[in-house]
């Protein structure tokens, strides 16, 4: 008797809970922002949810960028896709080529009749994620660009002015060598070497990464980053590694640990690392400035390109839900929201209005150096070599470049052989991408 009673109570409870249907439409937002960043994302979603009652955005942290993308792909194939997924910039070409999976943002905004002004966005940020004729495919969210960090104490110890960073690469080399002579353990170390030392070096010096406008004009590209300027630059770094003027710290963001430990004088890293670096070394002890350039390649730097990720909208949900998605994307682009996101994280404000708001609030006066990223991105109107990159299988291509560069740093190859091999292997990966997406 008790057993029957218990099981009927349980059944009733299940039925009751199933009937509690929410009047709100839920929007699933899968992202890769962990730790502090994740809390800021949750705060942004809360703000949107509080501002209206029709839609509820649920941010879900899915792990790294790779894990988030894999989860979204699996969910899409199981017809359970989230509405919004955050994808890193290297996945752009793969996302664009995914037939029937993606709902382009310009189309979403038009279909949902949401006001949308392309000119409000900072040009390199907007251009990276648009078609060649200016139609936005995914919503910029967290964009960063590489900047130069330097350790003021180590510069002072070398007898140099701690507030005067090098502007050219030869200058950086000299200053680093002086610092090492005065006791520093390492001169310069780069973060995300493929992004900073190859891709951004190309954009900064107006050199192409590949044919077809770095992939913006077509997917059947040929890689071109083994040109003489790049080879000379990488060979210079390889030569510097002999006396620790250049130290390789590992892939992705691993080398920041060397800079945070106070070992290295100079560090080129994402602007999004600013908060973490200032916390590790103390805000007054770190300088933030523009990346140096090579004066024998270009007279003045062109502009830098972004890293980070964007928000892609996936197909497969009921049509009515997309109106809420459009509203959320609009909300994210408003100046106060973007300003808050930018100030708390170090990512670039994606609209001009948000940058101006931060300026007006005195944020840049209180935190000098945080406006360098925007300045680098808007230094000049982008050329075909500095709009960004849109190349298929780019994750694997970056791995190939990482491997070949590691062969240079360990002394197994010289720069020319490594870059030539990287281009050759990369071209094969591009061909495979083209074959899979014909």
């Amino acid at each position: 008797m008790t057993r029957t009673l218990l099981s009927s109570v349980a059944a009733a409870a299940v039925l009751v809970s199933a009937q509690v249907a929410s009047a709100q439409t839920e929007i699933q937002f899968w992202h890769a922002m962990g730790g502090n960043l994740g809390e800021t994302v949750n705060a942004l979603a809360e703000g949107f949810n509080k501002s209206q009652s029709e839609y509820k955005v649920t941010p879900v942290y899915k792990g790294s960028y790779t894990e988030t993308l894999t989860a979204a792909i699996a969910a899409f194939r199981a017809k359970q896709a989230p509405h919004i997924v955050q994808v890193f910039e290297v996945g752009t070409a793969n996302m664009m080529a995914a037939k029937g999976a993606v709902y382009p943002v310009y189309q979403l905004m038009a279909d949902a009749k949401e006001p949308f002004d392309p000119k409000a966005y900072i040009a390199p940020v907007y251009g990276y994620y648009s078609t060649p004729d200016g139609k936005l495919l995914s919503m910029p969210f967290n964009s960063s660009t590489p900047v130069l960090y330097w350790n003021k104490e180590l510069l002072s110890k070398a007898g140099l002015d701690p507030n005067k960073p090098p502007t050219t690469w030869p200058e950086l080399g000299e200053m680093a060598k002086k610092a090492i002579a005065a006791g520093a353990k390492c001169g310069f170390t780069p973060q995300w070497q493929t992004w900073t030392m190859i891709e951004n070096y190309g954009a900064w010096h107006n050199l192409p990464y590949s044919t077809l406008e770095n992939g913006f004009a077509g997917i059947d590209v040929e890689l071109k980053f083994n040109d003489p300027a790049h080879v000379k630059f990488i060979q210079m770094l390889a030569d510097w590694s002999k006396d620790k003027t250049f130290v390789y710290g590992g892939r992705e963001g691993k080398s920041t640990a060397l800079f945070n430990a106070g070992d290295c004088v100079f560090h080129i890293a994402s602007s999004g690392s600013a908060a973490g670096i200032e916390k590790a070394l103390g805000a007054g002890k770190v300088g933030i400035g523009m990346m140096p350039y090579s004066p024998d390649v270009i007279a003045k730097p062109q502009n830098s390109i972004i890293g980070g990720a964007t928000l892609w909208v996936l197909q497969g949900r009921p049509a009515a839900e997309y109106k809420g998605v459009a509203k959320f994307l609009s909300y994210l682009s408003t100046a106060p929201v973007q300003a808050k996101w930018h100030q708390e994280t170090g990512y670039v404000p994606i609209t001009v209005a948000a940058a101006e708001l931060s300026e007006k609030e005195g944020f840049y006066k209180k935190n000098p150096g945080r406006d360098v990223a925007v300045k680098e991105l808007t230094l000049n109107p982008p050329t075909v070599n500095s709009k960004g990159l849109r190349i298929g299988n780019f994750v694997q291509i970056r791995d190939v470049v990482d491997e070949e560069l590691e062969a240079v740093w360990s002394g197994k190859k010289d720069a020319k052989a490594a870059l030539d091999e990287a281009v050759k292997r990369g071209n094969e990966l591009v061909k495979r991408f083209v074959a899979a997406n014909k």
Binding site: Q396, E403, E406
Partner: protein, 293 residues
């Protein structure tokens, strides 16, 4: 004397076995079938553009020097892991067999590492050997060895081998110890009476009687080196530097999930599946022949 269990109801044994069967079907047969199916397709990640391409993915692998490099590396790696693992654990088992006092303490401590998941082991050793802040790395620098597994590929491979061996010692140790303790003492005593020294006793009596266990462990260790070391590579080196630790199982994951090349990754999975089936087949045939009762 054979033990036989009888069931009153005819359907009861099937019901009891059913959960295991279901798990095996869902988690082993279904993914394997999917891998075989996907290995003959060429598709974009989201599945919108799928084409049947016969054995193109396999042909592409066999023409790829990186695949051969990875296969060679995996062979070298598994040879190192298996030989070092077996040698060290055999030595420990022989030593533990002779101890009378504190035997259970040694056995507990020696079994402990097996409980540590490979990924965690990778992180632990990563901390110890970290070029900037690692205790062991600092110690090595102090005696003049510059250890930096981030740049030096050979050191990275060596470190992964050390971690893999460390994790597997417990398992090998247990089996070797059991094997040693099942050797009749009378045989050893007889040899001692006949004047055989410890070395002779070991190589001529203990070792041959231990060989079925040893062979079984050899196959298990090779399979472990092929597959179980994924967590170590994933948490420590991610295949680097420069492909120095890009073993086949890591390549499957990397190409499939980071590179989104599902066809190529599935083809690699199918090849690995054939390898492990062959190994298991070899093991069963040989074990059945040479086991002494």
């Amino acid at each position: 004397m054979e033990k036989r269990v009888t069931f009153n109801e005819r359907w009861l044994p099937y019901l009891l076995v059913a959960p295991q069967i279901v798990i095996t079907l869902v988690f082993f047969f279904w993914p394997s079938g999917q891998a075989i199916w996907q290995s003959v397709l060429l598709e974009d990640a989201f599945g919108g553009n799928t084409r049947f391409v016969w054995f193109d993915n396999f042909a592409h692998l066999f023409n790829d020097p990186n695949y051969y490099a990875s296969a060679r590396l995996t062979l070298v790696f598994s040879f190192l892991v298996a030989s070092l693992g077996l040698a060290v654990s055999l030595l420990l088992a022989v030593m533990a067999d002779r101890i009378i006092r504190g035997a259970s303490l040694y056995k507990t401590v020696l079994v402990w590492p097996y409980a540590v998941a490979p990924a965690v082991a990778g992180v632990l050793f990563g901390f110890l050997f970290n070029p900037s802040v690692g205790v062991v790395a600092w110690g090595l620098t102090a005696i003049g060895i510059e250890f930096n597994y981030v740049i030096n590929g050979n050191q990275a491979l060596l470190l992964v081998v050390v971690i893999a061996v460390w994790s597997q010692i417990s398992y090998n140790f247990l089996f070797f110890l059991a094997g040693l303790q099942s050797i009749p003492k009378s045989l050893i005593e007889a040899a001692a009476i006949d004047g055989a020294g410890p070395g002779r006793r070991f190589w001529d009596i203990v070792f041959p009687l231990l060989s079925p266990t040893g062979f079984f462990l050899l196959v298990i260790n090779i399979i472990y080196a092929f597959f179980g070391t994924f967590g170590i590579v994933g948490s420590l080196t991610q295949g680097g530097p420069g492909q120095a630790t890009n073993i086949l199982i890591w390549k499957v994951y990397n190409d499939g999930f980071r590179g989104q090349d599902l066809g190529g990754s599935s083809a690699q999975s199918v090849i690995l599946m054939i390898v492990v089936i062959a190994l298991t087949f070899v093991q069963f045939r040989f074990i059945e022949r040479r086991v002494h009762y």
